[in-house]
Amino acid sequence: MYLKHLEMKGFKSFAKGIEIDFRPGINVIVGPNGCGKSNIADAIRWVLGEANVRNLRGQRGEDVIFTGTDKKKPLGMAWVSMTVDNQDRVISNDYSEISVARRIYRNGESEFLLNMNQVRLKDIHSLFAGTGLGKRGYSIIGQGELEQVLDAKPFERRLLMEEAA
């Protein structure tokens, strides 16, 4: 399994629709301070079902929707869609490709889609359970989060390791 494709529009600073094609191996993302690199990491966490908006540097769910600039008005919706390759059937179902999408509106309403069918947050969590995908401190290390394993209390460290057990 690997990450194949990411599309988004209206998510944080991505007012315009963008697409990224990933490849197996090492995909590098570069750019000046404040241009939107960590927002891409937040988009991947969000579409994988991140439930706590504080882990995305926000305070309310709608904080992820583009809030506008001096020249452009705020948008009313944000959506992100991620496609993973499943030819090696790490997730045992019929699909050789799985796409997950998430949408949120200004009124706070949000919806999840799995291969274009509407599902619940629980379904996304159970789909990826056991793969380690989206787990903080193990498969996603956000900016400034590297030293959490040293700063954590011994029991918190154990919980982090349980993800990989």
């Binding site: 399994m1 690997y2 990450l3 991505f14 007012a15 315009k16 963008i18 697409e19 094609d21 990933f22 490849r23 197996p24 191996g25 090492i26 995909n27 590098v28 993302i29 570069v30 750019g31 000046p32 404040g34 241009c35 939107g36 690199k37 960590s38 927002n39 891409i40 990491a41 991947i44 600039t69 001096d70 020249k71 452009k72 993973v84 790490v90 793969t131 380690g132 995908l133 787990k135 193990y138 498969s139 996603i140 290390i141 956000g142 900016q143 989060e145 590297l146 030293e147 394993v149 040293l150 209390k153 011994p154 029991f155 918190e156 460290r157 154990r158 390791m161 349980e162 990989a164 057990a165």
Partner: protein, 158 residues
């Protein structure tokens, strides 16, 4: 619960010591079960010994030594139980050039089985990328993304 975790801890300790020793080219690292009166609440302690130095408490480590110790810990879990892809955001910021070289060397090895998405400003890390994307804000406040060559990445990374 405890039996299973004890077994996993034994494997994780082996992987951590081996990864630490490879990345630091020496030294030792250990993951130990904490002494706790209730075994279900016992956590995990970390002990490290840098090559040539004495065993010491974690808070005497330097900025770069702490960062590389955490990298060794995370890489040792990934080596033990790979995940389909791993996203890392500027975890190489505190490393000097020599340690950056050790980090990228080990990352390349892991990337044979695990896909990585790496956000970085460091030249040494950009150079090992198989696929590079640049992010810019041609209009203040609105991000755009495009695929770039390593040469272009050098200018953009800044």
């Amino acid at each position: 619960m405890n039996q299973r975790f004890q077994e996993f801890l034994r494997l994780a300790n082996g992987s951590f010591n081996k990864t630490f020793n490879t990345i630091f080219e020496g030294g030792e690292a250990e993951l130990l079960m904490e002494n706790h009166e209730n075994p279900l609440q016992a956590g995990v302690d970390i002990m490290v010994k840098m090559p040539g130095k004495r065993r010491q408490s974690l808070n005497l480590l330097s900025g770069g030594e702490r960062a590389l110790t955490c990298i060794a810990f995370i890489f040792s879990l990934l080596a033990l139980k790979p995940t389909p892809f791993c996203l890392i955001d500027e975890i190489d910021a505190a490393l000097d050039e020599a340690n950056l070289g050790r980090f990228t060397g080990f990352l390349r090895k892991l990337a044979e089985t695990i896909q990585f998405v790496v956000i970085t400003h460091r030249q040494g890390t950009i150079e090992i990328g198989d696929n590079i994307y640049g992010v810019t804000m041609p209009e203040q406040g609105m991000s755009e993304v495009f695929s770039i060559t390593p040469r272009e990445a050098e200018e953009l990374a800044g």
